[in-house]
């Protein structure tokens, strides 16, 4: 029997597989395909204080081994989430992590304060890396001061585990990671999408209503693995790795690079059962390699 349990701060995960925000809805969307109870955790759609309509259509374009999206944090707001969604998922035998976004620091604080009232929300993922909103989002995640200011405020407002999701659209991601670690983040998750653009040359128009968007999918994986490796060496808090994980092998790349847990994102769109397949693969891999505890694989890159 392989021990797949990992800890992110005080948050215990039965296995290292989480779902990435914005790719798994609130969870029930995938209940026809997998047993949600099997997940290490699920990170629900980016939630803001007020409802948001998101960006105009078209919001997505397929690109080589990936896709660019510009959804722009469409969601019904934290109160709707608490009233209508939370009751549907609070008893899932997994960890609910709410991805939180805001236009200003006060927004993040207020969303976290409202989530705090609900005992089965033991963790938040602070999104300072959304490339698709005009205010807040990535603006906080691209400077050490911005990242630190949001982390500091959320740390004060939320007693549970605080994950901070980092943007790859920076010169030195390790520096940002150190800044949020210094402000008390329990973990950093990376990477959010890579700012990108695609053009319809026949029409001479951008494919997205917002011109630019965020690239995800297998195309970004080598960049994400490199960044996870760099950040894991730079901080002492656990790192959560994501970016283009399509299968169990890909997930292990991140774990060997130093990730304590992984998030599966775009792959959910292509194979809605991918998460449990990744969990099973990791267990088989451990067995195959004579590993009885998945924690011994974290950062176990041989080089």
């Amino acid at each position: 029997m392989v021990n797949l349990n990992v800890n992110i701060g005080n948050l215990s995960l039965k296995n290292p597989v989480l779902t990435a925000s914005g790719t798994f809805g609130y969870g029930p969307e995938f209940a026809d395909f997998i047993d949600l109870n099997r997940l290490g955790g699920f990170i629900v759609k980016g939630t803001t204080l007020e409802p948001r309509q998101g960006n105009p259509y078209p919001r997505m374009v397929e690109t080589p081994s990936g896709m660019i999206n510009a959804v722009g944090l469409q969601n019904k707001g934290v109160d709707y989430f608490i009233e209508h969604i939370y009751p549907q998922i609070k008893d899932v035998d997994s960890q609910i992590i709410v991805n939180v976004s805001g236009a200003g620091v006060d927004d993040y604080v207020e969303v976290c304060r409202r989530l705090q009232q609900h005992t089965n929300i033991k963790a938040v993922e602070v999104n300072i890396s959304c490339p698709n909103v005009k205010q807040g989002g990535m603006a906080f995640g691209t400077t050490c001061e911005g990242a630190a200011s949001v982390t500091r405020a959320v740390r004060k407002a939320f007693e549970g585990t605080v994950l901070v999701k980092l943007s790859p659209n920076v010169t030195d991601i390790a520096e940002i990671a150190r800044a949020v670690e210094a402000e008390g983040a329990d973990s950093v998750s990376l990477i959010n999408t890579v700012m990108a653009m695609a053009i319809d040359v026949e029409r001479r128009k951008p494919y997205l209503s917002t011109v630019t968007g965020g690239l995800s999918g297998a195309a970004v994986r080598p960049i994400a693995v490199r960044m996870v490796w760099q950040v894991a060496k730079a901080v002492k808090i656990p790192v959560i790795g994501l970016g283009g994980i399509m299968n169990g092998r890909d997930a292990l790349e991140f774990i060997l690079a130093g990730a304590t847990a992984v998030e599966i994102g775009t792959a959910n769109f292509i194979n809605p059962a991918v998460t449990v397949e990744v969990i099973d693969y990791i267990e088989d891999y451990c067995t195959r390699h004579g590993v009885d505890n998945v924690n011994s694989l974290i950062g176990a890159l041989d080089y």
Partner: protein
């Protein structure tokens, strides 16, 4: 309930150079899930390096007797071209059924018009069958660029009265569907699937006619299950996912 099903291709027949009619049956011979006309499937394309996401395709017909799923595929790019090249006995991984189908006529609604454009005729075949089974005799108005783009004409003719329009006048009425005289008739319910300009033109023409009118949208989508929020359409309720709230919408819900 939505399922991931591995299908065996029974046949994949060319309809001219730009379309195929693919018939599939579950590899394990399990009974196909119940579906409604207007629902769609998401196909994983196994043999196209440039295709990353699944391809959403309308259900053309489900033949309960032979346990077959029928799909009309148009060459719309690398992904669909790869699907068109597939041969009998090859396997396809498909998620189905997805979305909501057309609303069947309510009591007293007898005059039904089904307007299809190009490959948009696909779901109207399943719908036509369902209506005929319910004792209705639907009228089909089918438009296409040219004669070679008119699909499954014989099958439609077996279900009801068929009017034809072509943009180039190669067969039937010369012009777009909204210029066909049948559009001046009175109908209780109109179902429409085709290119966006066609659906908008039909919607605007019939909006105040007293007929209920439903259209089927095909906004670009990634997941097909309401998770990614990419395929949104502005509606009177705000942006909603075409994959889960549609793809069929009453035109009164839309902001056209």
């Amino acid at each position: 309930m939505k399922r991931i099903i591995v299908f065996r291709i029974v046949s994949n027949t060319a309809l001219g150079s730009n379309y195929t009619l693919m018939k599939l049956t579950p590899e394990d011979n399990a009974e196909l899930p119940d579906t409604c006309p207007g629902q769609f499937v998401q196909i994983y394309v196994p043999d196209s390096k440039s295709t990353y996401l699944r391809r959403p395709i309308s259900i053309n017909f489900v033949d309960k007797k032979s346990n077959q799923l029928w799909l009309l595929i148009r060459n719309a790019g690398d992904g669909t071209a790869a699907l068109m090249r597939m041969k009998a006995e090859e396997r396809l991984n498909i998620i189905m059924p997805l979305g909501n189908g057309f609303t069947l006529p309510s009591d007293g609604e007898r005059k039904l018009l089904l307007v299809g454009g190009g490959v948009g005729v696909a779901p109207l075949y399943a719908l036509g069958h369902k209506l005929v089974d319910g004792g209705y005799r639907p009228v089909f108005l089918l438009g296409a660029r040219s004669e070679s783009d008119l699909l499954m004409l014989d099958e439609f003719k077996a279900l009801g009265d068929v009017m034809i329009c072509t943009d180039d006048g190669s067969v039937g009425h010369h012009g777009v569907v909204t210029t066909h005289e049948v559009m001046n008739g009175t109908f209780d319910r109109i179902y429409c699937c085709g290119p966006m300009p066609m659906m908008k033109a039909v919607a605007n023409m019939v909006r105040n006619s007293g007929a209920e009118c439903e259209v089927s949208l095909e906004n670009t989508m990634a997941c097909g299950v309401g998770a990614c929020l990419c395929c949104v359409e502005p509606t009177v309720k705000g942006n909603v996912c075409v994959c889960t709230e549609g793809p069929v919408f009453n035109i009164n819900q839309l902001t056209w």
